[in-house]
């Protein structure tokens, strides 16, 4: 059974579809063209075999020889090297491949190269006039209308086409123009803003307000600032090592940090120059394709690769066996045959590498696999049944040496249920019994797939001296770690490069099954191998946010104080663990007693993975709705009750920075959303009802000490920063340049930042909102060490003690006598060697009061059509804190993205598995609905500058907390609108109508 032959129609890629319907495995293609498509008036048959075609691309005539089934995007990228045009879905659903044909937008993945004829093709590379950007490209940079940038070329092309027709388009027209361009990072608001500014119109509706302290002073020696804008900020004593960079003043005292700054790689992203993994093309590179199981549960009986191996152009074949290649294990420990048991539809069985993608597709179809198909449990409810087929029938036997150390003993496993993981503080049952108010709710949330615009991919180049891989990853060192271990190589001989990557959201850590397969194919073929997963594989095999079924009970006093929080959760992360949601219940609002019992339910479905604040959006969806209900029961305003509950300890005043922040944020957000005008639930007349809701966000401050960098200062004054940390699209490059620019009195663009390569000092992976927390103190420390060396040289030249020197914008001067100074380049010319360099690791946090949590508050305003069930989100207000603000413009982009992710999850996204076969029925981007431009609400972002005095930068991350509260805020707003609770996601029209029907009945 081949990969593509077994695909359901909804999952076919365009390339596979064309291949399959025009000759199938024999790769014979007959394409009939007519009309303008080929510039002739009569039909003509092309093929079989490659044919020569001509087209005009970016004003230049081009001739190329392609198979008739070759799509335009493939011809542009692989034949002409114009890789700015991206492939996101390969079936015309995402718009990443948008180009112009005679000035009209066209999807290059659903256009055959032969069809172009004499129409003029313009790609992103042809939009600028020489070095002068198109106005929309410039506006994208200025407005930060990009994050990972993978969708950006397509988005820019759609915008440019509209501007060519309509010099001043209104907002609705703009939304329509980019309605076919999906952006998983959620940059739509800034795309709208860029279009408005590029067309000379005022941009309204998506605002950023940064609130800071107004105090530019440096903290007294031996202390650091602690506090938040709008609250008290005081200097607190800290033990700061003599060798460490000193704390900065608050942001008003800084020149670069805290100022909104356009990202330095913006030009590369809007011109298509940014190179993503799928753009890497090495000499002699092969193309790989996997064969995956169409069955959710099966035993592989036979894999026959002989026909594939004989196909011309096939260079290597790999079959997944227990004892194959790098997965060699002790055969005595293996059970159930040669091949791993199939546990989900989409599990890899074999792979091929060939000279072209088409041959790889054909070869994959020629691999024969015999399966013994077994019954499967593919849903949470089915898997919990006592008679359900077991995902793991074999229990682990740890023998006599089980456990050891402090690890938890393995949990009970009954059928497919593993757990519970139990946490209990206080006597929940007694507290509930004593409670004046006891509220219980059952909540369901669905599986969400990450759906980054760039699917998982790798180019592996196995050489005797070194394995080099180009990988779309959130952590270069995580890939190196995995591949070194799998192939038993020293880490020093594995190099991982990730220049740009097209979104990850938690799913892109480690080497991945596909990564190991590609490396193994490269080793066998002695050639570089590119393996980029298609959209179906992305949906099914490399991670998702688990589903949940939560039963939550709150017990409270008559006044609303929490006596008890009691949670029982079941969730499925497919064949893996990780479906827990208890953290929100455990810590968001303190109670006298807390009990959480969390179960993993194994199902025959693809494994889960970390996904933007794992467990928190699900947990908050339940908890913040019940708190809303409690407020109503108690007769309190919902915000007032949250203020009452949001304390360090029961009956105690809030002292933790995050709880102080929450109170401020609730009041700011309430004013901005118009909370006072909020009506009683369901009180509005008529079928269209509006509502306002609120919810709380919290996340942990995670510190990764594997955060290092190298700073090099050359005698000509230029500065280079290197680290293996990568930029997931959050603007890490720019943030690091800003930090260095601040300390050297330069502009961010003066700093040459090189990141995303394990040849450079180790950097943190980008996940868990821990990137800037980890890396920015290391950057400052390296800068500090370079400055010491620079001051020694300058001091000698000026006759000034180095300790009396300081850097101000553009020069180095004596702090005692500023007339003794050298301009920056003159100062650097005093360096005795050609270069000064320092490699620094992250200094440890300074000792001080704990500040483990941070987050924000989000308010949502919605409109619900009670006749159709359609929910329309009108506006979201996000008031957030994330430590010291480095680049507010980029923080705003991330918050916009977190909110858009949250709305998309709350209203649209849902993975549908066929219950019997376990195959995903909507493994694409047209039937798996993600939020697009037309559903993007107005978003107000208010950022509060915050200082916790724990590091020399006090920077935090924002990716996670921006996503936590959105769905719960929407649900509370919907309740306020219609007076009926919706406890199940996604809140589709069907769900809303069912809830209304049930609510009206009751």
């Amino acid at each position: 059974m081949s990969h593509d032959d077994d695909e359901l129609p909804s999952g076919l890629s365009r390339r596979a579809f064309i291949g399959g319907t025009t000759g199938g495995a024999a790769a014979v293609s007959l394409i009939t063209l007519s009309g303008k498509a080929r510039g002739a008036t009569s039909p003509r048959v092309s093929g079989p075999g490659a044919v020569r075609i001509s087209m005009t691309v970016n004003g230049a005539p081009r001739t190329l020889k392609v198979e008739p089934r070759t799509t335009l995007v493939r011809a542009l990228r692989d034949e002409l090297g114009l890789r700015g045009t991206k492939v996101g879905c390969d079936r015309g659903a995402c718009g990443a491949c948008t180009v112009h044909l005679d000035g009209e937008t066209a999807l290059a993945c659903t256009t055959l190269a032969l069809e172009v004829g004499d129409r003029k093709v313009t790609t992103i590379e042809g939009l600028a006039k020489g070095t002068t950007l198109h106005p929309i490209q410039q506006a994208f940079i200025e407005q930060d209308a990009m994050q990972c940038g993978f969708c950006t070329p397509g988005m820019v092309m759609s915008c440019a086409a509209l501007l060519a027709k309509d010099a001043k388009p209104d907002r609705a027209t703009i939304r329509n123009a980019v309605a076919g361009n999906l952006c998983r990072c959620g940059t739509y608001p800034k795309v709208f803003t860029a279009m408005m500014t590029a067309s000379g119109q005022p941009a309204k509706g998506w605002t950023l307000e940064t609130r800071t302290t107004g105090n530019p002073a440096a903290p007294p020696p031996g202390s650091a600032w602690v506090g938040i804008a709008g609250g008290a900020v005081t200097a607190q004593l800290r033990t700061i090592p003599e060798t460490e960079a000193k704390p900065w003043p608050m942001n008003p005292g800084l020149n670069v940090v805290g100022k909104s700054t356009s990202r330095l790689d913006g030009r590369a992203k809007v011109t298509g120059e940014a190179q993503y993994t799928s753009d890497v093309a090495l000499p002699g590179m092969l193309h790989a394709r996997r064969v995956v199981s169409p069955h959710a549960h099966a035993i592989v009986k036979r894999v026959d690769t002989r026909k594939a191996e004989k196909l011309a152009g096939v260079k290597a074949v790999f079959v997944v066996k227990k004892q194959e290649g790098a997965t060699l294990v002790d055969p005595s420990t293996e059970k159930n045959g040669t091949f791993p048991r199939i546990r989900y539809a989409g599990q890899c069985v074999a792979a091929v590498a060939a000279t072209t993608p088409e041959i790889a597709d054909d070869a994959a179809r020629l691999i024969e696999v015999d399966y013994e198909v077994l019954p499967a449990a593919t849903s949470l409810d089915a898997a919990m049944a006592s008679s359900a087929p077991l995902v793991y029938p074999v229990r682990v036997n740890l023998g006599g040496s089980a456990g050891g150390g402090g690890a938890a003993k393995d949990l009970a496993q009954q059928g497919n249920l593993r757990g519970p993981t139990q946490l209990s503080e206080g006597d929940v049952d007694a507290e509930l019994a004593a409670s004046a108010h006891k509220i219980t709710g059952t909540f369901r949330t669905q599986v969400q797939t990450h759906s980054p615009m760039e699917t998982h991919g790798i180019v592996a180049d196995w050489k005797p001296a070194e394995l080099t891989v180009y990988m779309s990853t959130q952590g270069t060192s995580t890939v190196r770690d995995d591949l070194a271990t799998v192939f038993d190589l020293p880490k020093s001989k594995v190099r991982v490069v990730c220049d740009f990557m097209g979104g990850g959201f938690g799913a892109k850590f480690g080497g991945g099954h596909f990564g190991v397969v590609a490396a193994e194919l490269s080793r066998r073929a002695k050639a570089p191998v590119r393996l980029v997963l298609d959209r179906r594989e992305q949906h099914t095999a490399v991670g998702n946010r688990p589903s949940t079924l939560q039963q939550l009970t709150l017990g409270a006093t008559r006044e609303g104080d929490l006596n008890a929080v009691d949670l029982v959760s079941h969730g499925t992360s497919g064949i893996s663990t990780g479906a827990g949601v208890g953290w929100a219940a455990q810590r968001l609002f303190p109670a006298n007693a807390v009990r959480t019992r969390q179960y993993d339910v194994f199902t025959h479905a693809g494994p889960g993975a970390a996904f933007r604040a794992p467990g928190m959006p699900q947990g908050v969806f339940a908890l913040d709705q019940l708190v809303d209900e409690l407020a109503e029961r108690v007769g309190m305003d919902s915000l007032d009750l949250r203020d009452r509950l949001d304390v360090d300890e029961r009956d105690g005043a809030p002292t933790a920075p995050e709880r102080i922040a929450r109170k401020l944020e609730r009041r700011i957000g309430a004013d901005r959303i118009g909370w006072k005008s909020r009506h009683a639930p369901g009180a509005e007349k008529g079928p269209i009802k509006t509502g306002i809701g609120v919810a709380t966000s919290s996340w942990r401050r995670i510190v990764d000490m594997d955060s290092a960098c190298e700073v090099r200062l050359a005698r000509d004054g230029s500065i280079q920063l290197r680290s293996s940390v990568m930029d997931i699209g959050t603007g890490t490059r720019t943030a690091l340049a800003m930090v260095l620019a601040e300390d050297f009195g330069l502009r961010p663009e003066d700093i040459h930042v090189q990141i995303g390569d394990t040849r450079w000092p180790i950097g943190p992976s980008s996940g868990g909102s821990k990137t800037l927390v980890g890396i920015t103190p290391a950057v400052r420390q390296a800068a500090h060490e370079v400055r010491i060396k620079l001051f020694a040289a300058v001091g000698k030249k000026l006759g000034v003690e180095p300790k009396d020197l300081r850097i101000v914008p553009g020069r180095v001067e004596s702090s005692v006598d500023p007339s003794k100074a050298l301009a920056w380049k003159q100062a650097c010319a005093t360096i005795p060697t050609d270069e000064l360099a320092a490699i620094a690791s992250r200094p440890a946090d300074w000792q001080g009061p704990k500040a483990d949590g941070y987050g924000g508050v989000q308010f949502a305003s919605v409109q619900v059509d009670t006749e159709t069930g359609v929910i329309r989100v009108l506006k979201v207000v996000a008031v957030q804190e994330c430590g010291r603000l480095i680049n507010p413009l980029a923080v705003q982009s991330q918050i916009n993205g977190g909110i858009i992710h949250g709305i998309s999850w709350a209203l649209f996204e849902d993975r549908h598995l066929d219950h019997k076969t376990g195959r995903m029925l909507n493994a694409n981007l047209d039937q798996y609905k993600v939020l697009g431009a037309k559903d993007t609400p107005f978003i107000d972002v208010i950022l509060l500058d915050q200082y916790v005095g724990l590091t020399n930068t006090d920077a935090h991350g924002i990716g996670e907390p921006a996503n936590v509260a959105t769905a719960a805020a929407l649900a509370n707003a919907v309740y306020n609108a219609i007076g009926v609770r919706i406890r199940e996601l996604p809140m589709t029209p069907r769900t809303v109508l069912a809830a209304l029907k049930k609510g009206n009945r009751s």
Binding site: Y392, N397, G404, A407, S477, H513, P607
Partner: protein
């Protein structure tokens, strides 16, 4: 035996199988409960010997079970 260096606790950590991985297992996380303890409920684990969520012995990968005594356990 290594040690959980988080300030709040100093406990012995189990020597887990060298093929076990999870997201929190990368890097040097300073202020979190050690992932090796297996107490997180949001962690998806995988096995480098299979590159799947299960080990060569057909059972699932997890910090609580990828320890000495399991047939497919590997340390060096």
């Amino acid at each position: 035996m290594s040690e959980d260096k988080s300030p709040a606790r100093r406990v012995e950590l189990p020597l887990l199988c060298k093929f076990l991985r999870c997201k929190s297992g990368y890097g040097a996380i300073e202020n979190n409960t050690a992932w090796q303890l297996g107490t997180s409920t949001t962690e998806a684990y995988w096995c480098l010997a299979t590159m799947e969520a299960f080990g060569p012995d057909d059972s699932y990968a997890h910090a609580t079970v990828c320890q000495g005594g399991r047939g497919c356990y590997r340390r060096d």
